[in-house]
């Protein structure tokens, strides 16, 4: 009974989505106030219906309603309740429902935080988001209904894939989807601007906080995925260039280009067409990611159970949304007027390079990801493009970006004094290289060239960013006030760029200097590795709610002092008969120690892997810093918009939005 309610809710949501799309957009085109005013209420109603459907699915999982095929395929009575909750998005149909729910969350957020937007613009934005929702609701109702029934009702379910029975599943997909789906807001703003027919700069200003927020979520979502793979898969890998990982990385690259391009358009009125295109591209890549995961065109460890019919539907969505957006772009873009110009050595130039270099990076990842498809389609054979290719090719492509980052941060808008600028840069460049070489040569004996390159890059970014702060306060008498006066968005930029440098450092050092060994151990064996002693104290047999396990208890000793005791388990999950490793990790700021229990060997010994991974946490720490930086930038904008609106109402004047 309640399941039918879920179905009905989805249909009701679809009805709302149709109204949310049709009336506001037509209303904006015709200037019909009544139709436009339908935007907010229909959006909120749609959200309500989708939420109801979602809650019903959650409820079904929690009470083990195996008459629903999706619940039966992904849950089990032995599954702990919090995994039953997250199993809602553990497979295709449910994760789609989550996708639509998150789309609706963004939509109602826009309905609430949009008092300052003119009605016709807001109507178009909400309308476009409604259109996206229509597409995905139709997709769900026609090919992937989470409420499909199962007869006869099985006694118990097939259990959630053990790899997903982890806190990572509880947080990674929702946060990642907040990012993916969040770019639909930037997309909607861009389309609304195109529909309006005049690309003045205000749409860029309005779009910035939303785009930044989506970008923050995507950054965190990707970092979470990497961290999750690291500790969950049991062998210390954190990035595999798997097609689905690439599918999340590509929108991030373009999203980064987009937030920078939006800044240029907002502040200087340039790159308008380009920014619109980036917004369309970012969302297109989100949709592409959805397509790649669910259609079965590429093999991936992340792929949901694939079905070409679903693939065709998503491809159709992709073609309709992006195809029509690009047609609209081709129609409207030629009439855009640029209002600013700039010299060669200006911040605008570097932002242009930023956009282009990030686009190149994205195209590189795209090329490698779809190349197997191209070759097969042209009947030229079948090949794999894996991590070795991407690692070889991606770093040379990112290098110019890193170099230009330093220059961009210290360049001024519109023009720069050529000589002075280069002199400043030269000093910073030389110090980065020198210090980088020293650190690299002193601390590391192998892989020196690559280590030094990464460290120099990180230092270059950090020094130039910090120097830009230094410049702002060096001539001021009262330093405290000088610091306070600097807007949050500047600190945001500073922290985000340093976060990028921190990630680069982590990636470089852990890639070049991680070590591991694979040994057999019996109880009481001791092994020396990476300046530590590992003592296998015990092998315990234990069981969990839905698994049996053997646990290795290992003491980690350095210089005769017990650092920590690590535990690693080899589990067999009983329902699916599937083995899984739980790694034992001692997390540290400068290194992780990581143990992974292997398999039982003859004579009672077990194989075990020990890893020493220097600075691996810096990878994700950097991502957190980037997210914090983004947050500071958002707070700044909203604060200032708030102030301006207050000023306007208090002065009883038209809000004069000054550029800063």
């Amino acid at each position: 009974m309640i399941v039918e309610l879920g179905n009905i809710s989805l249909i009701a949501a679809l009805a709302m989505a149709i109204m949310q799309c049709v009336f506001p957009i037509l209303g904006a085109a015709k200037g019909n106030q009544t139709w436009m005013s339908l935007a907010r209420p229909t959006a909120r109603l749609q959200f309500l219906f989708v939420l109801i459907a979602f809650m019903i699915l959650v409820y079904s999982f929690l009470v083990n309603d195996f008459s629903i095929a999706y619940v039966a395929n992904n849950s089990n009575t032995l599954l702990p309740w919090f995994y039953r909750f997250s199993a809602v998005w553990g497979a295709h149909e449910g994760s789609l429902l989550l996708w639509v729910l998150i789309l609706n969350i963004w939509t109602i957020a826009v309905t609430f935080f949009s008092r300052h937007l003119p009605e016709h613009f807001l109507s178009r934005v909400i309308g476009v988001m409604g259109l996206v929702s229509i597409g995905f609701l139709l997709f769900m109702l026609f090919t992937s209904n989470p409420f499909e029934r199962l007869f006869p009702v099985p006694v118990d379910g097939a259990d959630l894939n053990p790899l997903l029975q982890d806190i990572g599943l509880i947080i990674h997909p929702p946060i990642l989807y907040m990012g993916y789906v969040g770019f639909s807001v930037a997309f909607s703003f861009a389309i609304a601007a195109l529909l309006a027919g005049n690309l003045d700069i205000t749409w860029a200003r309005w779009s910035r906080p939303w785009t930044l927020l989506a970008w923050i979520f995507l950054t965190l979502g990707i970092a979470l995925g990497s961290w999750w793979a690291y500790y969950e898969l049991g062998w210390g890998g954190w990035w595999f260039w798997d097609p689905v990982e690439n599918a999340s990385f590509m929108p991030w690259l373009i999203g980064t280009a987009l937030i920078h391009s939006l800044a240029a358009t907002d502040k200087r009125g340039i790159f308008k067409n380009w920014t619109i295109l980036l917004a369309i591209c970012a969302f297109a890549l989100s949709l592409l990611g959805t397509f790649l995961v669910r259609s079965g065109v590429l093999t991936s460890v992340h792929a949901f159970a694939t079905d070409p019919t679903r693939g065709i539907f998503i491809l159709a969505l992709l073609v309709i949304f992006i195809g029509s957006s690009l047609v609209l772009y081709a129609m409207r873009a030629p009439s855009t007027k640029t209002t600013g110009s700039f010299e060669i050595l200006s911040r605008e130039t570097f932002l242009l390079f930023n956009s282009i270099l990030l686009l190149v990076a994205m195209l590189t990842v795209l090329l490698g990801t779809i190349y197997p498809l191209i070759i097969e389609a042209l009947n030229l054979g079948k090949l794999s493009v894996g991590a070795p290719y991407f690692n070889a090719v991606f770093i040379p492509v990112m290098t110019p970006l890193v170099i230009f980052l330093g220059f961009g941060v210290l360049s001024k808008w519109k023009q720069n004094n050529f000589i002075k600028f280069l002199r400043k840069m030269r000093a910073l460049l030389i110090s980065s290289v020198l210090i980088g070489v020293c650190i690299g040569a002193v601390f590391y004996a192998e892989n020196q060239l690559k280590s030094i390159a990464g460290i120099v890059a990180a230092l270059w970014i950090s020094f130039t960013s910090l120097y830009s702060l230094f410049i702002k306060i060096k001539d001021k008498k009262d330093k405290i006030i000088a610091f306070k006066v600097i807007p949050y968005s500047f600190y945001g930029m500073l922290i985000a760029h340093i976060g990028f440098a921190v990630s680069i450092t982590g990636i470089t050092i852990t890639s070049q200097h991680s070590v591991d060994i694979h040994q057999r151990m019996k109880v009481n064996d001791k092994i020396e590795f990476a300046d530590y002693k590992f003592h296998l104290k015990d092998l315990e047999i234990l069981s969990g709610p839905n698994y049996q396990a053997t646990e290795a208890v290992v003491d980690v000793i350095k210089k005769d002092q017990l650092i920590t005791t690590l535990r690693s388990q080899k589990r067999i999950y009983t329902v699916r008969n599937m083995p899984m490793t739980e790694a034992g990790i001692d997390a540290g700021f400068t290194r992780d120690i990581y143990i992974s229990l292997g398999e039982p060997l003859d004579d009672g010994a077990w194989s075990i892997r020990l890893y020493h991974k220097p600075f691996v946490r810096w990878i994700w720490l950097g991502a957190i810093l980037m997210a914090i930086g983004g947050l500071l930038a958002i707070i700044d904008r909203r604060y200032r918009l708030h102030k301006l609106v207050k000023k306007a109402s208090s002065n009883n004047n038209e809000a004069v939005l000054t550029t800063k």
Binding site: G296, V297, L298, G311, I322, G323, I370, L373
Partner: protein, 177 residues
């Protein structure tokens, strides 16, 4: 005009994906097609002291079906193989892959034995030579012992009637000096 550029690129991508949807990404074409079947000498499944030599198969069109008792898909394919060997004159040999002899023999007893004989590849080295990665797999060899076709996964009636049987007929008519 340059504003149409993104649309054109996108159209190209979309076309590519339409193609991609029609292919199975997990299907790995065999590089052994039109090459001599890799040589092996293995003990037979039923009589460990007797051997099968791949060269023994020369002179006739033969089918090698790679199977195992632990393989669920083989279980689905097996009754069809029984049918085909009943209806047609087929030189069907089995390659029992990484199996336990007793399990394999029991399996054949329960489900029927369509094979002239099965070679027992306990460790799987012959499987590697044949590029086996997903059991069941089926190879069709011509009279000279050249691999002319490889099918991955269980065979169904449609594939048998449309591809395999016609190929066998064609190969039987080939004359080799």
């Amino acid at each position: 005009m340059r504003y149409l550029f993104p649309l054109v690129i996108f159209a190209g991508l979309a076309t590519l994906f339409v193609f991609g949807l029609q292919n199975d990404p997990r299907y790995v074409p065999s590089p052994l097609i039109n090459k001599a079947a890799p040589e092996f000498i293995l003990p037979t499944l039923h009589k460990p002291d007797q051997n099968i030599n791949i060269n023994d198969l020369k002179g006739k069109v033969s089918i090698i079906n790679v199977w195992a008792s632990w393989c669920a898909a083989c279980r689905i394919e097996h009754p069809l193989l029984n049918n085909y060997t009943r209806k047609h004159q087929l030189n069907l040999y089995g390659l029992n892959y990484k199996d336990k002899r007793s399990d394999a023999l029991q399996w054949l007893e329960n489900l029927g034995n369509p094979y002239i004989e099965s070679a027992y590849d306990e460790i799987g080295t012959v499987g590697i030579d044949y590029g086996v990665y997903g059991v069941p797999e089926t190879f069709i060899l011509d009279k000279k012992g050249t691999i002319r076709y490889k099918h991955i996964g269980p065979i169904d009636d449609k594939q048998f009637n449309r591809i395999i049987m016609p190929l066998i007929t064609k190969l039987e008519q080939e004359q080799h000096p």
